[in-house]
Subunit: 105 residues, 2 copies
């Protein structure tokens, strides 16, 4: 996902997911791709940006807090979250934030 | 910066800076390092996370909007912003957001 998300005018919401991976793939790559595909189909999804270089940072953008709540509760996503905690991530942090202003080039 | 920022309890603020670089270094690497060093000295700075993989994502965390405003107006940072627009970045987006909730592993 090497693009800058084309988000609408603020306000909207950003979920900042920062993680340190464990060694080995263990099905991580395929699931990560699938989660992006699945997220894109969710109501209220606005875009996603992702990069890993030592630390991994994935920022997904959402219309409102309800969209984020629904995505968190998606059953296929719940399975991925479970495996993430158990085997893919050494540590991670999820931050739910409200984008109030943006500008760019 | 391959660590997850050790931020305090929300609320606090996140500046999500997403960018696509131009070709060549043109002094970018040294300035990027210097900007992290300088940001860390600013009042209200809480941490930073950064990764580049196609797209670059740097998320810096701040106590309040005034800290962000002061950092944006820092003279050495202003010079870097100018060169960034002129030569380092093909495109970028800055999003100012308020972190309302976080959790992790």
């Amino acid at each position: 996902m090497s693009v800058i998300a084309n988000t609408p005018k603020p306000p909207y919401f950003a979920v900042i997911f920062t993680s340190i991976r464990t060694e080995g793939d263990e099905g991580y790559g395929a699931t990560a791709d699938r989660m992006v595909e699945l997220a894109e189909q969710q109501e209220g999804f606005l875009g996603v940006e992702s990069a890993r270089e030592g630390v991994g940072i994935t920022v997904s953008y959402w219309r409102d807090l309800d969209s984020i709540k629904n995505w968190k509760a998606n059953s296929e996503h719940l399975d991925a979250q479970k495996t993430g905690r158990k085997s893919w991530y050494e540590s991670f942090k999820v931050r739910i934030s409200k984008v109030e202003r943006d500008y760019g080039l």
